[in-house]
Amino acid sequence: VTFAPGALAPVADPASIPEPSMIRFLVLATALAASAWLPAPARADIQDCTVIASLPTVITVPGIYCLQQDLGTNIASGTAIDIAASNVTLDCNDHKIGGLGGGAATQAVGIGSLMRNNVTVRNCNVRGFWVGIALSHDGTGTAPIGALVEDNRLVANTRLGVFVAGNGSLVRRNVVGHTGGNPDENAIAVETHFSVDVLDNTIDYVFEAFDSEFPHSPYGIVAWNNTGGTIQGNRIRNVIGTFANPYGIMLTYDSHRVTLRRNVVRNPDGAFGQAIHCVASDNLARDNSLLGFYSIEGCSDGGGNVHN
């Protein structure tokens, strides 16, 4: 899988960023652990499907694939489940795809596809990869269409939780926790390229690696080249930058006419960042709730944005 994330320039001004106290850091980490990623409501497993029994694997035929047990891998590069066909549904039935065995410096992707249309990934618990889920394009300006990433749980991925490229795509109802730790890159919970809707996701704890020399900002949601998409109903908290400024939602590089609505973004105490940042004023922010200081920059104000 070729993975083509955007390269975000570090924007840190270390001198302007107070360091959060270690006590606060521990409290946040404890709260995160205590939440324990509560199980989803009971539902029937997908049974009648092609079972993926070991990792790594490559899917080469359209169809419906599933997990019926937790799976893990020690790969430190490549892709645990490589979707090499269009029209594929992967339903993990809440089972784990574990990549922690690849180590902290892993460059492996959990679930990946390149230029495949109509790929669905749902109910997967993807942990410990460089990138949890990457449904990508090839960097040439064209992109696949119709990706759906829903109801997944992404935890402890070091660079990115979810990466989705392609018009007509949806990223919804995922829980993305504890993203970051790669010393050389920005940590991002959800990144999209092209016109992707990002709806109703929970993002908790995105953090930079502690590198004071080359700081990289952490981000909750980053959208590139998004024309007319909607980022709505997401809950973002604990995006923590110690040396680099954290951002809740960042619209960047040629994103226009995007609606940002009803998101809840909590600024970490002491960090200097922005809850919502737009690259152009034809993007609209309305009805967002900001916990902490008011920090919406570059967007048109559609009203209803409040902070405490």
Binding site: P5, Q47, C49, I52, P56, V61, G139, S195, V258
Partner: protein, 288 residues
């Protein structure tokens, strides 16, 4: 601008080439065209395609039908852009559900017509489908008590016969809720209108929580439109995003024959954001 990181692909074993649907206890449709003449639950166990340019790939002739494609594809691209074929069709049938289908390349993807005049709910349900590259309409549903929800409708239009391009058409009491429409366009030189969501004679039914973008036309482009003699519908919490360079574009085009209420909607980029709608408050627009 992009940084491309090439990762080595590990040597792995390819999975077997069978892929079956999740739903059991259903009657599997194994080839096209198919005609459903008995009530019950039907499903797809594999992708199916048809090269026919007329008729319906799946024709429903009875009431009380559920079709669950389990994410499989119902393909009609082989018939070409001038196709007159329908993906799934029912005419004057009640209690029909179509879900989890990936329907591509027909003139209309899902066409469930009951029309007006039913004394009891028709209750058509079209949910969680993906419609892609249908040349005239993605989904067209008519009948009271019906719902179109959670669908993704991509790249509708391109019929060379100058048929209007419409992603979703709802008539006679059909709710349209939480759908994504991305890309609606007439064929080049066809001279047809394009509409994201069209509520026609859809009195009393809400069009709510939908996202429409990328509607273009050589004549007129509407993200949302209400028409007909009985057009007193509600547009609420919808998002319209249109290209500001479009010649004639309207975010929410409301009928003049009866009041359409618009509240809490967002219109970005349209030349006219709200046209002839009753302003219920909370509507926000950025116009070029």
């Amino acid at each position: 601008m992009y940084r491309v990181l090439a990762l080595g692909v590990l040597a792995v074993a390819a999975l077997p080439d069978s892929a079956r649907a999740e739903t059991t206890g259903c009657t599997a449709i194994e080839s096209l065209p198919a005609v459903l003449t008995s009530q019950g639950v039907y499903c797809l166990n594999e992708d199916l395609g048809s090269a026919s340019s007329t008729g319906a790939a799946i024709q429903i002739l009875v009431n009380n039908i559920t079709l669950d494609c389990n994410g499989h594809r119902l393909g009609g691209l082989a018939a070409g852009p001038a196709t007159a074929a329908i993906g799934v069709r029912a005419n004057r049938r009640a209690n029909v559900t179509i879900r989890n289908c990936n329907i591509r390349g027909f003139q209309t993807g899902v066409l469930l017509e009951y029309g007006a005049g039913s004394g009891s709910p028709v209750a058509l349900l079209v949910e969680n489908n993906r419609l892609d590259g249908n040349t005239h309409r993605g989904i067209a549903v008519s009948g009271n008590g019906s719902v179109v929800r959670g669908n993704v409708v991509i790249d509708t239009g391109g019929n060379p016969l100058a048929l209007p391009a419409e992603a979703i058409v709802a008539r006679y009491g059909t709710d349209v809720v939480d759908n994504t429409v991305d890309g609606v366009a007439d064929a080049e030189g066809a001279g047809a209108n394009s509409t994201g969501i069209h509520a026609e004679e859809n009195a009393g039914a809400p069009v709510q929580g939908n996202r429409v973008r990328g509607v273009t036309s050589s004549l007129a482009a509407w993200a949302y439109r209400s028409t007909g003699e009985y057009a007193d519908v509600l547009f609420r919490d919808n998002v319209a995003s249109l290209d500001p360079t479009e010649g004639s574009s309207i975010g929410f085009a409301c009928a003049t024959t009866s009041p359409t209420l618009a509240r809490d909607n967002t219109s970005l980029g349209a030349k006219i954001a709200f046209n002839d709608c009753v302003d219920g408050g909370g509507n926000v627009a950025l116009t070029p």
